[in-house]
């Protein structure tokens, strides 16, 4: 009999390696189910080439659940069963293309959206959630009409005192958020306001800058101490199909 001498550790090789001579060469359609025998190894390693339409449903500990490039970055488009549930990897260029085109809300198996939701009997999708966090919504057969970019949260300690008099009733703070743009929707909260009658508002004053205003609308002076949190979201009305 052979006496195989093996490392104590299991293999860290990918299950599939695609090493093409051109980046345009492709691996399209991979299903790996119930693979085991290694810890931390990817399902697919794309040395060169493009990967699409892959699904990995494997065990969490010994199974392989990713498609990666030689740098260990996820690549291609795939879905996989992860330790926490499921993971979905989309392709950024395809998302940009589909959002810019007439097929944005098209139902069916060729959607470029990472997750697409629709109802049978309808020609367009009702909702989509993309891998970059963008969510789109629409109505019956009218396509998507509303799009929300992924929310961003900025927070900062902010201590301020407000009087009941007119000249001391407001305070402001400007926060940096590099992706914030004019017109983005902002919402602010402060953990130190409690029962005080203080109104908070936030808005983008310029690229990367969010201004927060606090207004004392009560009759007493207020001392506020704690953390300020602001959520910034890009909202966009889309041209529906009707």
């Amino acid at each position: 009999m052979h006496r195989l001498v093996a490392d104590d550790e299991l293999s860290d090789d990918a299950i599939i390696r695609f090493n093409a001579s051109s980046p345009s060469h492709s691996l399209d359609g991979v299903s790996i189910i119930g693979a085991s025998g290694g810890t931390g190894h990817p399902a697919v390693e794309m040395v060169q080439g493009t990967l699409g339409g892959a699904n990995f449903v494997n065990g969490h500990w010994y199974g392989a659940s990713d498609a990666v490039d030689t740098e260990g970055r996820v690549t291609g488009t795939y879905s996989s069963h992860s330790p926490g549930g499921f993971a979905f990897v989309g392709e950024a260029r395809a998302l940009q293309d589909v959002r810019a085109g007439e097929r944005n809300s098209e139902q069916g198996g060729h959607s470029a959206h990472t997750l697409l939701f629709g109802l049978s009997g309808e020609s367009t999708a009702r909702a989509a959630i993309d891998a970059d966090g963008t969510m789109s919504f629409g109505d019956h057969d009218r396509g998507f009409d509303s799009e929300f970019g992924r929310p961003r949260v900025v927070q900062s300690p902010w201590t301020f005192n407000l009087t009941a008099e007119a000249d001391g009733r407001t305070a402001s703070l400007t926060l940096p958020e590099k992706e914030a743009q004019l017109g983005d929707v902002c919402a602010a909260s402060h953990e130190g306001i409690g029962e005080a009658d203080v109104m908070l508002s936030a808005h983008v004053t310029g690229q990367g800058k969010i201004k927060v205003l606090a207004l004392n609308v009560g009759g007493d002076a207020v001392a506020v101490q704690g953390t300020l949190r602001v959520v910034v979201t890009r909202a966009k009305a889309l041209e529906s199909l009707d």
């Binding site: 052979h2 299991l10 293999s11 599939i16 090493n19 093409a20 051109s22 299903s31 025998g37």
Partner: protein, 343 residues
């Protein structure tokens, strides 16, 4: 090789995927009727050929140890090439299986099985041993004397200009120095309960090498390489046909539809190399069901395309219930135990 005298039979295409067991041959043919019709339409019609009459015709198989062929088949100490080749010719002509009783057979030269060497319509043949008591076909004397090893594969299905279609191998262990089995422009090979071993694969060699073709199926098979890393796989698939395809499944510029079921790859995985230009479709349909690799230093499946190949598209790879037992550290393959199954 001239066909031996004897009775005349039409070689029926429908028997070319015979399982090797006479009672099962018709069932196998029926199950693949669609494939056979398609292949038959693409292959040129062959001549009516002679079938040497004998008890093997009724038995549905001819044994290499039958009189007057009398292969030794005991300890692989005698080159049985003559007996095996003659029986192979009769088996092909009579559309019956070529049977190897339990034992060790030394084939001092490559057993070439194709339309060039088999005077059958399609160059197809069924090789079979006995279930649970396999025969060993070796390219080396005694199955371990490397100095006597044939440098070529032990068995070659097909030929450079297209070598027929639809052969099968069942219940055999095949051991060669650099390769056990080559399949060249010969679509439709099926194997079950077969162990293929290469003692020392050279570059561009492997226990099993398939070059160009269509539809291969392996069930309960072992492929044992020498564990030298990614350049020495256990199975090598090559899309290398640079000549005209013209719709012939024997002359595809790729290897298409390969399925492994309950099979093991030891000291190497499966490597696909695309060197020929492709017009549109690429290599499609690779499936692995309940397979595992052991002591391998490479992935289960690797695809490569050569520089200059303009298009290469692989579609539909399915792997279900795959296990990877351990990485190779030291390939300690010894000649005298190379036929052992590694578990």
């Amino acid at each position: 090789m001239r066909p031996p005298p004897g009775c005349t039979l039409l070689v029926l295409f429908a028997t070319t995927f015979a399982t090797g067991e006479g009672r099962n041959r018709d069932h196998g043919a029926r199950a693949r009727r669609h494939h056979h019709r398609r292949s038959a339409a693409l292959l040129s019609a062959g001549p009516t050929v002679d079938c040497l009459s004998g008890p093997w015709v009724a038995a549905g198989r001819i044994s290499v140890m039958d009189m007057p062929f009398s292969a030794k088949g005991v300890d692989a100490s005698v080159d049985d090439s003559d007996a095996v080749e003659r029986c192979a010719q009769i088996a092909a002509n009579c559309s019956i299986a070529l049977h190897f009783p339990h034992g060790k057979y030394w084939l001092g030269r490559t057993l070439a099985l194709s339309t060039a060497t088999l005077h059958s319509r399609d160059g197809a043949i069924a090789l079979t041993g006995d279930s649970w008591n396999s025969a060993e076909l070796c390219g080396c004397s005694g199955c371990n004397d490397r100095g006597t090893c044939n440098s070529g594969p032990v068995i070659l299905f097909g030929q450079p200009d297209g070598g027929g279609c639809c052969s099968s191998v069942h219940h055999l262990d095949v051991l060669g120095m650099h390769s056990a089995v080559h399949v060249l422009n010969h679509p439709g090979v099926r194997m079950s309960q077969v162990a293929l071993t290469a003692l020392s694969p050279a570059v561009d060699e492997a226990p099993l090498v398939i070059t160009n073709g269509f539809e291969y199926y392996f069930q309960d098979c072992d492929f044992t390489g020498a564990g030298r890393g990614p350049d020495h796989p256990a199975v090598l698939l090559r899309g290398a046909n640079a000549t005209s395809y013209n719709g012939s499944y024997a002359r595809t510029p790729y290897v298409y539809m390969v399925s492994f079921d309950r099979s093991e790859f030891v000291m190497g995985g499966v490597l696909y190399e695309q060197t020929a230009q492709l017009d549109n479709v690429g290599a499609v349909f690779f499936s692995f069901y309940t397979c595992y690799t052991e002591a391998s230093s490479m992935p289960l499946l690797t695809f490569t395309s050569a520089p200059g190949v303009r298009k290469f598209r692989v579609e539909e790879v399915t792997i279900v219930d795959y296990g990877n037992c351990a990485r190779a550290k030291l390939p300690r393959l010894r000649a005298h135990d190379a036929l052992s199954r590694v578990n």
